[in-house]
Every structure is written in C-alpha cells, then in structure tokens.
C-alpha cells in the first residue's frame, strides 16, 4: 500500500458504499479504521447498515464502491473462506449434524491440519470456554448459553486475528447475556483479538466496547469510546439513541465561543444555558439534550447566574436505587429527571412546583 500512514490500522473501510437494488444506498460513504486488538461495536437500529458492513467485511456481501482493507491488504476480491476471519452468528449456526467436537474441528479439518494437532486445539478451545465435557454432545442437546460458548470457541479455534460477532447474545435471557458480555470481552482482551461486534442493544455496546460506532441511515453518526458517546453525543440521533434523554427545542440567542457556552431561547420563551455542539450562529434552530440524571434541583450546585426553569411534578416513580420524576417543563410533559435515592433527596408529590437547572456543559445544543 502506498499510503503508509494507515499501516497502524488493522481493519479499514475507505469510502465504502453498498446498494442492493441500484437505487438506494444501504451504506453511504463509510470510513472506519480499527487498530489491532480493538473491540469495536457497531450499534444502530435495524436497517441502519451495520450488519451489511459486517457482511462486507466477512465477504458475504461485496462493496458496491470503495475499499475494505485487512492488515493493509485490500480484501475486496478475496472469497470469504480465504479471509481467515472468525465469525459468530446470531443463531450460532452450529452444524446440527455434527457433535460439538466435530463442529470445532471443522475449520481445522478444512485447513488440512493433522488429527492429533486438531484434537489438541479443539480441546484447548473447549476448555477455554469451559465446555470441555461437552465434546460428544450435539448442539441441540445444549442450552442457549452453552451453544453460544461453543460458537465462540469455534470462531476462535483456528486462531483468527479478527473475529466478527453478529448480535451473538440476542437469543439469551438478560442474566445470561450479562454474564456472556463479560466473558466475551475478557476472552477478546486476553487473546488480543481484534473484534467487530454488531448489536442493537446500547447497554451491550457501552459495557463491552473499546469504541462504539453508532450507525444510522447508512452512516456512522459517531465513533467514540462509550463514555464520550454517552456524555458528549455529537448529534441528536446519538443523544436519543444512547441512554435516556430529554430534548427541548429552541433557537440560539447568544454564543460565547471563549467559554464555549451559548444561550438557547426555548419555544416557550424561557432561556437556558448549553454547550454549542453543532450550532454555529445566533438564530439557528437547535435541539438541546439533557440527561435525566444531570438535571439539578439543588440551586447551590449551580452557578449563581445560571438559568433555571420552572417545572411541575407530574409523576413520581420510586424505583429503589433512584427516583424517576416526570415533569412538565417548557410545555413538554415528557421531561424526566432521575435522582439518587439519598437521605437528603426530597420525595416529590405530583402537582408540586419546583425549579430545575443544570450545569451548562451537561446541556448540549445539537442539530435541530
């Protein structure tokens, strides 16, 4: 490759486009670089193009335009079986007519590996996922979680450098899912494998990944580590998609570039403080986004000149560790505030009038 500056990226999408019907693009101009050993999650609603990206990387779909590179080499013309990429499928795709050990031996067999070496590797891989005792069973005799582990072991047994996972935990119940999330990340980091993980579950994405790529409408809306993604969403889609979020719409009336703050006049007339994220000029329409847990009722924690809003309590829900309060704020009845269940935290009653505010950096003025 002539372009030497990309040598540190292991997986690379460059200006990749994909269309199935020649009329609409499912993936629009995708650019992505992944260093070796990274755990990257593609997150997005269904139809956002994330699975298509994964399939292009695996070789089951061809890119309509653009270049996909693996370890610096373009793999556009390499058939899937020569790419050497491990893959875990949504429904595991364990071959039902083979035993677990045969399933695991399959990739080694097609690589013409000797019998003793094969058995040794199969055993090691099964032990790795704590399934050593199940080699002679058939997939149908295992529980969902066990099948999941076997699928993982099978994708890893031939020691690929890149593993793709297509919503692998979708069929498991919540508890098992959380356990497997931990096991998968643990395994990936211990083995130093580069992992591309596709999911539509944002909790999964946040807890497992080094970086998350949020997909919508065939584009990556934001590519960032989980904390940055949650706290500093780059646009209203990401803000909405990741976690719970309150939105208020209004118009920018003042921008202070030095302090990186701005004032937004809401449609109901009140003014609030916000961080300008993708607003550039006074008078632009914007949607401000505030996380429910960053809404503050205690004025002492706010700066003296901070703007506050009047709010009416509509509903107070006791959830154990937190209180969830629905408020009427600036004409919106869906404004939610989450407060920690602390001794000094007042329990509000519906109809109560309160005043709320927030730190300017917690309120982000995004695209309208």
């Amino acid at each position: 490759m002539a372009d030497t500056k990309q040598n540190d990226s292991f997986v690379e999408f460059e200006r990749v486009q994909k269309s199935y019907d020649g009329e609409t693009l499912v993936v629009k101009d995708l650019n992505l670089q992944m260093p070796k050993g990274e755990f990257l999650t593609m997150l997005g609603p269904s139809g956002s193009g994330k699975t298509t990206c994964l399939m292009m990387l695996a070789g089951f779909e061809t890119a309509t335009h653009g270049d996909i590179r693996l370890d610096g080499k373009s793999i556009n013309d390499i058939p899937p079986h020569k790419r050497g990429i491990g893959m875990v499928f949504q429904n595991y795709a364990l071959f039902p007519h083979m035993t677990i050990a045969e399933n695991l031996a399959f990739p080694l067999e097609v690589r013409k590996m000797g019998k003793s070496e094969r058995e040794q590797k199969v055993k090691r891989a099964l032990d790795m996922v704590e399934m050593g005792a199940f080699g002679n069973r058939r997939p149908a005799q295992l529980s969902g979680g066990q099948q999941q582990r076997v699928a993982l072991a099978r994708a890893l047994v031939f020691e690929p450098e890149l593993v793709l996972m297509d919503e692998p935990l979708g069929a498991l119940d919540k508890q098992l899912r959380e356990k497997m999330q931990f096991e998968i990340t643990d395994l990936a980091h211990n083995l130093g494998i580069t992992t591309v993980y596709v999911t539509h579950d944002q909790t999964e994405a946040l807890t497992m990944s080094d970086r998350v790529a949020v997909f919508d409408d065939g584009r990556i809306q934001q590519l960032a580590p989980p904390d940055e993604l949650y706290e500093q969403p780059q646009n209203s889609f990401v803000a909405q998609f990741i976690g719970e979020n309150n939105t208020l719409s209004g118009k920018v009336t003042k921008i202070d570039n030095a302090k990186n703050t701005c004032v937004v006049q809401l449609d109901s007339g009140e003014e609030i403080d916000a961080v300008p994220v993708n607003v550039n000029a006074v008078g632009e329409r914007t949607t401000v986004s505030i996380r429910p847990e960053r809404v503050e009722t205690n004025k002492e924690r706010l700066s003296p000149d901070a703007h506050t809003l009047k709010a009416e309590v509509l509903e107070f829900i006791y959830m154990g560790d937190i209180f969830r309060t629905r408020l009427r704020v600036a004409g919106s009845t869906e404004f939610v505030m989450k407060t920690r269940n602390a001794p000094d935290q007042p329990r509000l009653r519906p109809g109560e009038q309160i005043e709320i505010g927030w730190l300017p950096e917690d309120c982000r003025a995004l695209d309208a």
């Binding site: 429904n91 097609v110 099978r154 994708a155």
Partner: protein, 553 residues
C-alpha cells in the same frame, strides 16, 4: 380430595375411587376421538383393508376345482400318478356326473379356464367335453327306454324314486349344487329320495336327486311332471352293472320293482365311461390332464404365487418353468431397477431446483414453484401423451436433434416404446414428489450454516458437501421413498410409452385383471409387490431410520 391418610384407594371428590373416575373421564375422551375418526376408519376399512385382504385370499384360493368336481377329486385320490396307467373307470364315471352337472349350470368353462392357467389346452377340452356329456348319457337312455317305455315317463320315475329317509342324500346333493353355483339352493323341492332305492341303486338315486334339485330350483318345474335328464339313465346303467344289484332288486318290492327287475335282466350297452371320454377327445387319455387336476385339487394352492415367480407345481413338487416361459422374476427385477433409476434421476434433477426454490427471493421462487406444480394440474394422461409426441422417432426431440445435426436422419434415436421412454416420462411425472419434500427440508436450513462454514475456511464445495448436504438428506430420503414407491406401482405411463421392454409389473397385473382374467395370478403378483415394497421400507427404516425422513418442518 380426601384420602391420603387411609390405606384404601385414593378417592375422588364424589367418593368414587380415583382410578375409576379417571378411567371414566378418559374413556369419554377416547370415545369422542374414535367417533371423530370413525368415518375415515370406515372408509379405509371399506376401500383399503377389505380389498387387500380379499386380494390376498384370492391369490391362494382354489376352491373352484373341488366345487366343480366334487366326485372326481376324492376318486382321484386313489390314483397314483407315477404309474403309467390312466385313472380307473370310477374316476371317469365321477367325472361324467361332475361335468354333466357343471355343464348344466354352465360352470365347466370356468374350471377349464382355471386349469388352463396351469396346462394349456384344458379350457377347450372342458368346453367341448362338457357340451357333449348329454350324448354319453343318451346311449344309455335310448337303450333303457327301448327295454321298457315306462322309463320315458317322469311320473313313473317320480313314483319309483320318491319316498322317505333320504334326507342325508338330499342335503349332500344340495350342498354340492350350492358350492357349484354359489347360489342358495335351500328351497323345498317336493321330492325326497327313498331310502330303499338309495340302498339298491345309490348312483341313480344321487343322479336323480341332482336332477330334481336343479329342475325345481333353477328351471322352476315340478319333479313328478318332468322326464329326468340323461345322467340319470347313465347312473341306472352303472348301478345295474354292479353284480350286487341284481340279487338286491329281486328282493325289492317297492314302486317300479318289476320294471327294474326286467331292466336288470335286459342287455344294456357295455360302453365304459373311460372309452366314452376318449371318443369325445383323446386328450382324456393324456396323463397330464389328470395330473393337473390332482395337483390343483386342494382348496388352497401356492400355484399362483409359484406362477408369479416363474415356478410351477408338478406332481413331483415345485420346479422352475422352462426358460422360454419365465417372465415374472425378470419383470420384477426390471421394475425395481427402473424405479431406482427413476428415483436417482429425480434426485439429480430435483435437488438443484429445490435448492433454487429454497434460496431465491420469494417472488422468483413462487414463479418457479408454479412451474414445478404445473404438471400436477395437468392430467396424467395428457402429460404422458405429450411425451409420446415429444419422444417418437418423428417427434419434436428427434427433429431438433436431426436439424441441429447431432443425429443422422437415418439413425433417429429410439426414445419411446422402450425403457428409455418410461424412464424419461416417469422422471418428469414424479419429479414434483421429489422436489416438494426436498424444498420443504431445505427451507428449514438457514443460510447462516453455509456462511458459517465459509467463514470457517471451507470452500463452496466443502461447505455444501459437509454442511448443507447432510442436512438435506432427510429430504432426499422422504422424496426417494415417495418417488420409489409411486414408481414401483406405476401403470399408465409405462403402458403408454413403455412398449414391450419398458413395462412394469403393474402392467402385467392389469393384463391379468382385465385381459387374461387370471385374477389369482394378478392377486399373487400384487401381493408380492406389496410385500416387496414393505420389505424395502423396512430395510430403509433399518438403514436410514424413518425418523430421519422429513417432509418439512
């Protein structure tokens, strides 16, 4: 729910034993279930089980010989077929009365046809001889009536023969008629053989009783007003030949005693029945005729089954037929072979189509599915006839091949009226039966398996062969069973395009049912076919396991 503390049986809430209550509740359910399937059960019983059982019976049933020749068969038991001699005069006499009655009832030709399956020529022998039994009897009738004209009168005969005490004889003769005609003969006939006559003239009494029953029941006449038939005179002559008859008659005082005594003293023809039969047809001196009757006299015979496997029953035991008469084993083998070839070609042609159906986008797959099902909506006869148009030597396929220059005009391919034609046409007709189960099984194999295999490093072929194919095997199994079992009993298509060497065993069965009327052989062939299919099914179950057969899901 009271009783868990006591040692007695568990009781239901109303105090009855729990078991009884449960049984009652379950019984009601079972009855309801039975009532629901009763129409089907009845239908299956009526249209499936009963015909099959009756077919099985027909393949061994052989009562016709003993029913038609009730006197001859026991008489022949004393005959040793290994000697050079023909049967004794006694056998010929019995044959005379049996054939006489049979020809009156017009049953002799049926027996002739039956025995003709075993030895050719017997049909015409029985037909012509049966017709001429009267003429044998007439010889004696004329002689007896010449001696005393009173023997021409029915009333005289009736007075002489009628009496009391002959119930046993009457019932025995009745039973013989019933066996022969398969009709009810139990009506009152206004005649009872006299015990005195039975003792002196047993043959005559039997023959007269036979006539009396037939006259009353079949011809609806009155016994006393009719002249007896010729067999009665022949019987009288036979009785009078018996040296013991003369002294017995001398002591007889009953009606007609004087006329009988006169007759005993007179000179009657000394024609033997063996000679009479020989005069009719010299085949009656052929031992093979009598051997055939002996061999096929039991009520049940393995003859049809032996016939169906090219064997035959002889007095020496079972032997294979001569090579030039062997037919069925070869036909069975050919039927199996061709069914296997048809099944194989259905797999080869159907598999890719089923795969396409299962993997194409729904819209395209539906169009393709209609193409697959289209033959189903066309009459079988039309499809087969269409193949006739395509395959004949001046047909579409040959014309195209000649036009393209692949085939010389003088050497057009013979695609029809041989096994090639049958295989081509039946493969086409049975193809949907292979495609549909294959398709429904393939539909359940997620494409992710193939992808998984490829991602694990398998080439397209390895992925197909190691991962996809084994999972589609149940579909192949189901399709093969369907196609094979349908093919093995196929009739119409081989009949139309099969010619002579492309026909199946079922065509032969049909021939015996409708043309040669040898239903026994047809039944035996059908039974063998049924057993063969069940045996193959059993083998299949053993080797593949019927649980592994899926029609979908």
């Amino acid at each position: 729910m009271s009783d868990t503390t006591g040692s007695g049986p568990m009781l239901a809430a109303d105090g009855r034993p729990l078991k009884e209550s449960l049984g009652r509740a379950l019984r009601r359910q079972k009855l309801r279930a039975l009532a629901l399937i009763a129409p089907l059960l009845f239908f299956v019983l009526l249209t499936f089980v009963i015909p099959i059982v009756s077919m099985l019976i027909r393949s061994v049933d052989n009562k016709i010989v003993e029913n038609t020749l009730p006197g001859t068969v026991p008489a022949l038991a004393a005959w040793d077929s290994t000697t050079q001699d023909l049967p004794s005069e006694d056998v010929y006499q019995n044959m005379f009365f049996d054939l006489f009655n049979a020809s009156e009832a017009r049953r002799h030709t049926r027996l002739g046809s039956r025995l003709n399956y075993e030895t050719t020529g017997l049909a015409s022998l029985f037909r012509t001889s049966g017709r001429n039994m009267d003429s044998i009897g007439e010889v004696f009738q004329d002689a007896i009536e010449d001696v005393d004209p009173r023997f021409e009168e029915g009333a005289f005969w009736f007075e002489m023969m009628n009496g009391a005490g002959g119930d046993a004889m009457l019932e025995m003769r009745r039973a013989r008629w019933e066996n022969l005609t398969e009709q009810d003969m139990s009506a009152d006939i206004g005649f009872m053989p006299s015990q005195a006559i039975i003792e002196i003239l047993p043959t005559t009494a039997a023959a007269y009783t036979d006539w009396a029953i037939w006259t009353v029941i079949d011809e609806e006449e009155v016994v006393s007003e009719e002249d007896p038939w010729e067999a009665v005179y022949a019987a009288l002559a036979i009785d009078l030949r018996n040296p013991a008859t003369g002294p017995a008659l001398a002591a007889y005082k009953g009606p007609g005693a004087e006329a009988l005594q006169t007759l005993a003293a007179a000179d009657l023809p000394d024609l033997t029945f063996a000679q009479a039969f020989l005069d009719l047809d010299e085949d009656w001196a052929d031992k093979e005729v009598w051997e055939t009757i002996v061999v096929y006299s039991p009520n049940y015979t393995a003859g049809y089954f032996l016939n169906a496997v090219d064997a035959q029953l002889t007095p020496e035991g079972v032997s294979m037929r001569p090579d030039n008469q062997q037919l069925y084993i070869q036909l069975f083998i050919r039927t199996l072979q061709m069914s296997l070839i048809i099944t194989g070609s259905c797999i080869l042609l159907g598999y890719p189509i089923a795969w396409l159906l299962a993997n194409l986008p729904v819209r395209t797959a539906n169009v393709l599915m209609i193409l697959v099902l289209l033959p189903f909506w066309t009459s079988l006869l039309v499809r087969t006839s269409a193949w006739k148009v395509l395959l004949q030597q001046q047909g579409v396929i040959n014309e195209i091949l000649v036009w393209l220059g692949f085939v010389d005009d003088a050497n057009r391919l013979i695609l029809m009226n041989n096994s090639t034609g049958t295989i081509i046409a039946m493969t086409h007709i049975l193809l949907p039966f292979m495609i549909l189960p294959l398709y429904s099984v393939m539909k359940t194999i997620p494409p992710s398996y193939l992808r998984a295999a490829k991602s694990l490093g398998a080439t397209n072929w390895t992925a197909f062969w190691r991962v996809y194919f084994p999972q589609s095997v149940p579909g192949i199994g189901a399709g093969s069973i369907l196609v094979f079992i349908l093919a093995i009993g196929y009739y119409i298509t081989p009949e139309i395009v099969g010619g002579t060497d492309g026909v199946f065993i079922s065509n032969r069965i049909a021939y015996h049912i409708s043309s040669s009327l040898n239903w026994g052989l047809a039944a035996a062939l059908g039974t063998i076919l049924l057993v063969l299919v069940m045996a193959l099914y059993w083998c299949y179950d053993r080797i593949v396991g019927i649980d592994n057969v899926k029609l979908g899901g």
